[in-house]
Point group: C2
Chain length 491, copies 2
């Protein structure tokens, strides 16, 4: 099937139920999208006894998760954590995830996620996903080894490390390279086994809504025509964020326009969120998202310093790249370089351009157009403290503290205008943790659920994000939404 | 009239027209709120021949404007500008306002506002508002003199001054002290004269919406009971922003939670925006707002330096306080001090606390807990350059460049946690420049208009804001919305 009209011209406002001649197909639960959120929701809804119909826009499900490394954030003492020798009480995970959730954490989501994490991990195992009991002891942003466990956020990074006991919680499935496809294959297999029916190449474009606001179905394009699908119990929106929609970014999250290599699928055009808004749902946290500039690995780059156009440092370089990338935009006005010496220099996967290579700090400063001895002062002060294993200004951790030494010195351009910037949106529909979409008064829209990036979820700010929290959030709260839509009582 | 139930418990979702027994009152145009936006909208709608009913929640209209200095942003060659000797071609104003509008300016709004500014100024004069032809040649944030003209934004500030020819465009009505009440009295008089009918103590709580999405009226609480008011042509939402609603701030604009002394009235609870969302309107730019920490006047403070907890500067201190306050939060992690010497020190209106007074820079650094000689390095470098009349790092303008000289030296605490922070929201309903509220597809909600802080307006980011742009935006686009609702063709 090919969409004949561009998405931007298709209205996302709901179809009044009275305008629907008849539903050609019906199910108890209709799931829009088969990424991690929709996939896990479908399985749970079907296992709870509901007749489930999954409508997936692409020819094969998987969503953004299938394109990813498959990193998922589990903790509280998973089998892999224990086998690798890490003790991670639920309380420690809770303390950290609450920080990672951002400045306004949703306490209910944080609690449910942490208390349910070991069960959720075992649930994935029960789908046939395997994880190696090996710890990857290096700083990476996009892990390609088959090791099962690694640090993926700011667990060991100041100030987080002072407020929550660190443990590695990024779990990568037991496959080399990008393991998201492997993860999603298991979800798709389990969906098929659950009895849920999946229709591919089916683009849901509008909700169908009754006068009492209940969502009773969807309108979709299938085989070149509009099809009405009825949902007896509910519709679950799980169609991804809006990083592919530049107009929505400009109107809701202008800082995310720095993303030049969006992390997602073409389906991440915000339609799911817009459909929910059209039905009366409130979109919230829409200005927030994750920015990703991978200026390491090599992890030796963490021994370098990030400086702005004033020659000043502005962040602890050992923070997650979500945090350093946010700082490059918010604090350094989207213009920053990584300064390294010859010994620690390496080419990044993102192939950052070398802005200057010089034999002295003075010459590097001049080559970058940094005025007034500012870069030299910064480096000298950094070096003096690093010599003592200290970073009094930004508290970079000891393993990465080492003075910049023998020339040549290089500056790698990390600016969004001149390097690869990924990222995605974190805003979405306001929902209860159990998936019910809420209006601006906090009241539920009957029959409407959302999960994954269609919802404002667990982690609400890129600057505190830890990799694995999106798949973790989408899959965990997708499961809850699936049970809610199927009518299973929570509690 | 007293509201019996707290606002948070009242739903803002629309009442279906079918549920309204009858409209007790009807008018062509119903205006919700009588601040600058609603007031100006009412006048224009009534003058265009519409029967207008203004429903104002408070016992007297005026809104946040009545509490303000009355500063309004006009330019392009007003009589006051010319009389004070300033040449300000429309093109110069356009170049600046486009920058002040933020990183994603609405080109149509910018153009209309600048091209119509002289007429808009004369319109206010025609209501009886007087302005003195005197230029206030000092940096102030809250002007109390009766001078008619002053700089209120970043017109002379780097980098704006390099991209647009500066001219003062803040116009203050000819009254000492806070002149916003005087300004609004003129608007209220003109409203009465226009034939528009005003009902006070009337709290509009819900829109009434027909099945075709047309907004056909409102439900309001008046004299302790619910009253349905019909609107034959349209409803204009002009009920203010959401700075008083901490729940909405947390969910949409967490950075604005630093505001501890909101700039607005108790009515700025976001209900107008929520009513519009409930009717299918999209709220946009909801994460943005203005933060205001008045660490000057005295303008001598501009000769001091703002430093963060790393002892680093992070903004040109001569920028508007909207810009420096944003920088304190976004760049300095909400912790900053103004460092002054004895000669330039003065008490601020906001009575900033003195965090430390010392006889040397070293002692000041230690007293503030800034590590590692960082503050001393910053001051020494600043002083060396200022001696030459330069600020190579942040380009503070020459009049404010003077080395910090004889002790004692003081640090004034500008942190949100320990000083007065005002501000308000800039996000709101997506509307055309002419006031029509739009849904997430950009389609109009028939019969629904918004202006002032109920709409996402002209200036979209606090960091580029110029004082006077809110009253300017509310009044100018309020007038357009009034004409639109009355059915006057634009163009």
């Amino acid at each position: 099937m090919t969409d004949r009209r561009p998405d931007a011209q298709e209205p996302a406002a709901p179809v009044p139920a009275s305008a629907v001649p008849r539903f050609e197909v019906e199910a108890d639960v209709v799931v829009v999208g088969q990424g991690a959120a929709g996939g896990c929701a479908s399985i749970e809804a079907a296992r709870a006894g509901a007749e489930v119909l999954v409508l997936e826009r692409m020819s094969l499900g998987g969503g953004a998760t299938a394109l990813s490394t498959g990193l998922t954030y589990f903790g509280g003492g998973t089998r892999i954590q224990r086998a690798c020798g890490f003790d991670d009480p639920v309380e420690a995970m809770h303390a950290y995830v609450r920080l990672a959730a951002g400045s306004q954490p949703d306490e209910e989501r944080v609690r449910l996620y942490c208390e349910g994490s070991v069960e959720h991990f075992e649930w994935f195992c029960s789908l046939g996903v395997e994880w190696n009991a090996s710890f990857h002891d290096d700083k990476v942003t996009h892990p390609l080894s088959a090791d099962g466990l690694l640090y993926t956020g700011n667990e060991e990074v100041w100030p987080f490390c002072e407020q929550a006991r660190p443990a590695p919680r990024g779990h990568k499935p037991a496959r080399e390279g990008e393991a998201g496809g492997y993860l999603m294959e298991a979800v798709l297999r389990a969906t098929a086994a659950s009895g849920a029916r999946v229709v591919n190449d089916c683009h849901v474009q509008r909700l169908v809504q009754a006068p009492d606001r209940r969502v009773v179905g969807v309108a979709a394009r299938l085989d070149g025509r509009e099809v009405f699908v009825g949902a007896r119990r509910g519709v679950i929106l799980a169609a991804g964020g809006f990083v592919m929609n530049r107009d929505m970014l400009a109107r809701h999250a202008p800082a995310l326009l720095h993303i030049n290599t969006p992390t997602g699928t073409p389906g991440d055009d915000g339609r799911g969120i817009r459909m929910g808004m059209g039905a009366g749902g409130e979109a919230e946290n829409m200005g927030e998202g994750l920015l990703l500039n991978s200026w390491y690995p090599p992890s030796s780059h963490l021994m370098g310093i990030l400086v702005d156009a004033r020659g000043q440092r502005f962040v602890n370089e050992d923070a997650s790249i979500g945090r350093t990338s946010d700082a490059i935009v918010a604090k350094a006005d989207a213009r920053a370089w990584l300064v390294v010496d010859d010994a620690i220099y390496g080419q990044t996967q993102a192939r950052h351009r070398i802005a200057a290579v010089e034999e002295s700090f003075e010459a590097l400063e001049a080559a970058l157009g940094i005025p007034d001895g500012a870069l030299v002062r910064t480096i000298e002060a950094y070096n003096r403290a690093a010599e003592k294993g200290e970073d009094p200004l930004f508290h970079k951790a000891r393993p990465w503290l080492r003075p910049l030494q023998a020339p040549p010195y290089a500056a790698l351009d990390c600016s969004p205008a001149r390097s690869v910037w990924g990222g995605f949106t974190l805003g979405g529909l306001r929902t209860r943790a159990t998936g019910e979409v809420q209006d601006p008064d906090g009241r539920e829209i009957p029959g409407l659920y959302a999960a994954g990036r269609n919802a404002a979820g667990l982690c609400r700010e890129g600057r505190s994000y830890a990799s694995g929290l999106s798949i973790g959030d989408a899959s965990f709260f997708g499961r809850l939404a699936g049970r809610s839509a199927a009518g299973v009582p929570h509690g």
